[in-house]
């Protein structure tokens, strides 16, 4: 709904002012739409990209992959799109929004996290979760689809008290101790630092999420967008991603 509001707002501004906003003083903006889970990593790499390309400002929009595809479909001006799963990149490709064939640049697996000190005494995806407050991602969003796939692969039934739309919402509920346990990406567990304890899931590999990146077809900065993709898929990008826990 926010998108429609924004579109309506933009339309109104155009109708009433008849003057689209002009860009700054010769500076070039590179707009990157990236899945929420890429937030700290891509922001770091964006700063490095700016340092290597004077006069270029990298602007990020971090959101759920599906929401980003919706925004692209509505004509949001983006140059690069990075999705947290293949399904959403396929949606964007099918809609003819992606310029070249998108490439997989990393993967992510799920893990169980508990508040620091594990007050509820959780031991893993087992009977220790009975009658405890488990929070997961909702089916349909990338991390939730992965959670469902993992539960099926491991032959277990999860009884969550909450199914969140964003993986960060799972994380914050565990960090604050509201929830006894949560299933998030390894990278979220790592980003959480000392606020949570991590209980690796044996067989987590059975539900590995692929991250794909591609240049947006409508981009007016095609060479620059291609260079950004190269940074991500290249040695430096992979190094930063691995440090954050991706591909592990």
């Amino acid at each position: 709904m926010r998108r429609q509001l924004r579109a309506g707002l933009a339309a109104t501004l155009l109708l009433t002012a008849c003057a689209p906003p002009s860009s700054g003083s010769g500076n070039t903006d590179l707009v990157v739409f990236a899945a929420s889970s890429l937030n700290p990593t891509f922001a770091t790499l964006g700063k490095e990209f700016e340092a290597a390309h004077p006069g270029v400002t990298v602007k990020f929009s971090f959101d759920g992959s599906a929401a980003l595809v919706d925004q692209l479909k509505a004509g949001a001006p983006a140059d690069v799109f990075a999705s947290a799963d293949k399904a959403n990149m396929d949606k964007a490709s099918t809609a003819g929004l992606i310029g070249n064939s998108p490439v997989q640049f990393t993967t992510n697996v799920l893990t169980l996290i508990v508040p620091k000190g594990n007050p509820a005494g959780i031991t893993g995806l087992d009977a220790s979760l009975d009658n405890k407050l488990l929070v997961v991602c909702a089916d349909g969003v990338p991390c939730g689809t992965a959670t469902k796939k993992l539960a099926a692969a491991l032959g277990i039934t999860l009884k969550p008290v909450s199914e969140e739309t964003k993986v960060t919402d799972v994380r914050t509920k565990v960090e604050s101790g509201q929830a006894d346990a949560g299933i998030v990406y390894v990278t979220d567990a790592k980003a959480s630092g000392g606020k949570v304890d991590t209980l690796p899931i044996a067989g987590a590999d059975k539900a590995r999420n692929s991250y794909l990146i591609g240049r947006v077809l409508a981009s007016k900065q095609a060479p620059l967008a291609a260079e950004f993709v190269t940074l991500i898929t290249g040695e430096r990008g992979q190094q930063v991603l691995e440090t954050a826990g991706f591909g592990g």
Binding site: M1, Q4, L5, A7, G8, L9, A11, T12, L15, T16, G64, A66, A67, D70, P115, L133, V135, A138, G140, V141, P160, V161, S162, E163, E164, T165, D169, K173, S176, G177, Q178, A179
Partner: protein
């Protein structure tokens, strides 16, 4: 006396205002998948969200009436520093960003916080329950009732209440037979506004109560989720919310017209 006409140039900003407010709603309606609408709205998740929203909002309105009316009565009589402080307290949740309201509730009633921990230990654990939804909604919605009723009370002349008291009516009788009936339209419109605000509550619920079908996932939370999963469903449910909101606003306007001092 005939009112002097408004200057014609006002039409320009007026048109801009109407376009500004109307375009997003029209844009949303234009995107509604009308053919699939019945199927989308009768999906179990959508129905659960709808009924949960209605149930929790009705309960919220009730709680807001029971707790908010006495507060409005007291504030309408208050003068000086304490009344000002009380009024500020009663209105701040209205203007808080929803996520801040959620954080405040979480810090107060969270399971690992002093108050919430004590409550949980005494057997009142609201984490991830429908009760938490009602608490979140009441926190942001009650101020609308308080402000609406207090304003009406202040603009109501005291003559009738004074007359009733002079004739020997007890304070409770004056309240029940005179003061409250006089502000009944404001109470009704305040209750409708509180219901509408509770219906739209999102941030505090998401932060504080969680999101589970049939338990805590109200209409706005279902829309938020479907935005990621199936945007057609999100738009279809948005139409439901807009319809209910429009009805509530119409009800409010109807009652406001009948308020004190106006025919």
């Amino acid at each position: 006396m005939i009112r002097p006409p408004l200057p014609r140039w006002l039409l320009l900003p007026v048109t801009a205002a109407v376009v500004f407010l109307g375009v997003p709603l029209v844009a949303l309606l234009a995107r509604v998948p009308w053919a699939r609408l019945p199927a989308l709205l009768s999906a179990p998740a959508a129905l659960d969200a709808f009924w949960l929203s209605l149930r929790t909002c009705a309960l919220t309105t009730l709680v807001a009436l029971v707790l908010g009316l006495p507060l409005a009565l007291l504030l309408s009589r208050g003068k000086g520093r304490w009344a000002a402080a009380g009024r500020t307290l009663a209105t701040v949740p209205m203007v808080l960003p929803p996520v801040v309201a959620g954080l405040a509730l979480l810090v107060a009633l969270g399971r690992r916080e002093p108050l919430g921990g004590w409550l949980a230990a005494s057997g009142v654990d609201v984490a991830f329950t429908t009760t938490a939804v009602v608490i979140a909604q009441t926190f942001v919605a009650m101020p609308y009732l308080v402000v609406s009723v207090e304003g009406a009370l202040r603009s109501t002349p005291d003559d009738y209440a004074i007359a009733a008291a002079t004739l020997g009516a007890s304070p409770t009788t004056v309240l029940r037979r005179v003061s409250l009936p006089l502000v009944a339209p404001a109470v009704a419109s305040g209750a409708a506004l509180a219901f509408a605000r509770a219906l739209g509550e999102f941030g505090a619920t998401l932060t504080f109560a969680g999101s589970l079908q049939g338990t805590t996932r109200t209409l706005p939370l279902e829309i938020y989720l479907q935005r990621e999963v199936d945007s057609d469903t999100a738009i279809a449910l948005s139409v439901v919310l807009i319809t209910i909101a429009a009805l509530l606003v119409a009800v409010t306007a109807r009652f406001s017209r009948g308020a004190w001092g106006q025919p």
